[in-house]
């Protein structure tokens, strides 16, 4: 498979962020922060009216996009900047663009948007490829 600078990566969609999954992530992370679990706490803190997704889960969606776009390859490096929150029920779209191709690596700009417009993660990633490009 060949990659070119400017090439857009296929998007990865989460149709609706699940509050039930946030309960699982609280266990995975061993972090029972109630803003991920209890909407009344979110309201009391003035952070909105829906539970807030864990940041690492949002990074995982972007990683899923990369792994699907580069089947059989692996992520060598990734930087994620957390721009905004993801809320329960949000529709998410992860995507990216190839920003550089050299030797056995492909660099990408990546992003995660909520509800088609709100940027929640921006970042970069390097894919280590096994094939001659």
């Amino acid at each position: 498979m060949s990659y070119a600078v400017g090439q857009e990566l296929p998007t990865f969609i989460i149709e609706s962020v699940s509050p039930e999954a946030m309960k699982q992530w609280a266990v995975f992370l061993r972090d029972p922060n109630p803003i991920h679990l209890d909407v009344e706490v979110v309201k009391a803190k003035g952070l909105g009216s829906r539970v807030i997704n864990q940041g690492p889960a949002n990074v995982a969606y972007v990683m899923n996009m990369l792994l699907a776009a580069f089947p059989g390859e692996r992520i060598e490096a990734m930087d994620s900047k957390f721009v905004d929150n993801v809320y329960g029920g949000d529709r998410l779209e992860a995507g990216g663009t190839v920003s550089g191709v050299a030797d056995d690596r492909v660099n990408c700009d990546v992003w995660l948007r909520a509800d088609g417009q709100r940027l929640v993660i921006s970042g970069t990633a390097t894919i280590l490829t096994q094939r001659v490009l």
Binding site: A21, V59, D79
Partner: protein, 151 residues
């Protein structure tokens, strides 16, 4: 004159050890549940979802999230926020493999923010190592600790 020079200094926490004491193992069951929660199937080659870079290092570092906040003289109930997270993998994370964490706090910088008022920006670095003490990955995370009492 520095625009932050009128603020009291942030606690001097640079160099605080985050070395872990427990071994962390990614179970096949949890990896499968995590993958399902993000809308994908687990890899067939025994590798774990790469987001375990964050989970494994957070869970197995030497302090809890609340403990790290406490070192920074910040109440975890005041809501630490993730600013950024970076990772460089030397090799894939594998289900069933034992890992240990070494790491330290790199710095805590007090700043003014248009959005948050006064905040402390915490930077720490963690290394995940395998059974042979070889580095599997290194991650550097930035948390934002809002200091509403100083705004």
């Amino acid at each position: 004159m520095n625009e932050n020079s009128d603020l009291p200094p942030a606690p001097d926490v640079a160099g605080t050890s985050l070395d872990g004491t427990e071994v962390y193992v990614i179970s096949a069951e949890e990896n499968a549940a995590l993958c399902a929660s993000t809308g994908v199937a687990p890899a067939a080659d025994g590798s774990a979802h790469p987001i375990y870079y964050y989970i494994a290092t957070q869970v197995a570092m030497g302090k809890t999230v609340a403990g790290v906040c406490n070192v920074c003289e910040f109440d975890v109930d005041d809501g630490p926020m993730m600013g950024s997270s970076g990772v460089v993998f030397q090799k894939p994370l594998m289900v069933g493999a034992p890992y240990r964490v070494k790491g330290k706090i790199l710095g805590l910088a007090r700043k003014r923010s248009r959005k948050l008022g006064v905040m402390d920006v915490l930077t720490y670095r963690l290394s995940l190592q395998d059974e042979a003490d070889a580095e599997v990955l290194q991650t550097e995370n930035v948390w934002v600790l809002p200091r509403r009492e100083l705004a």
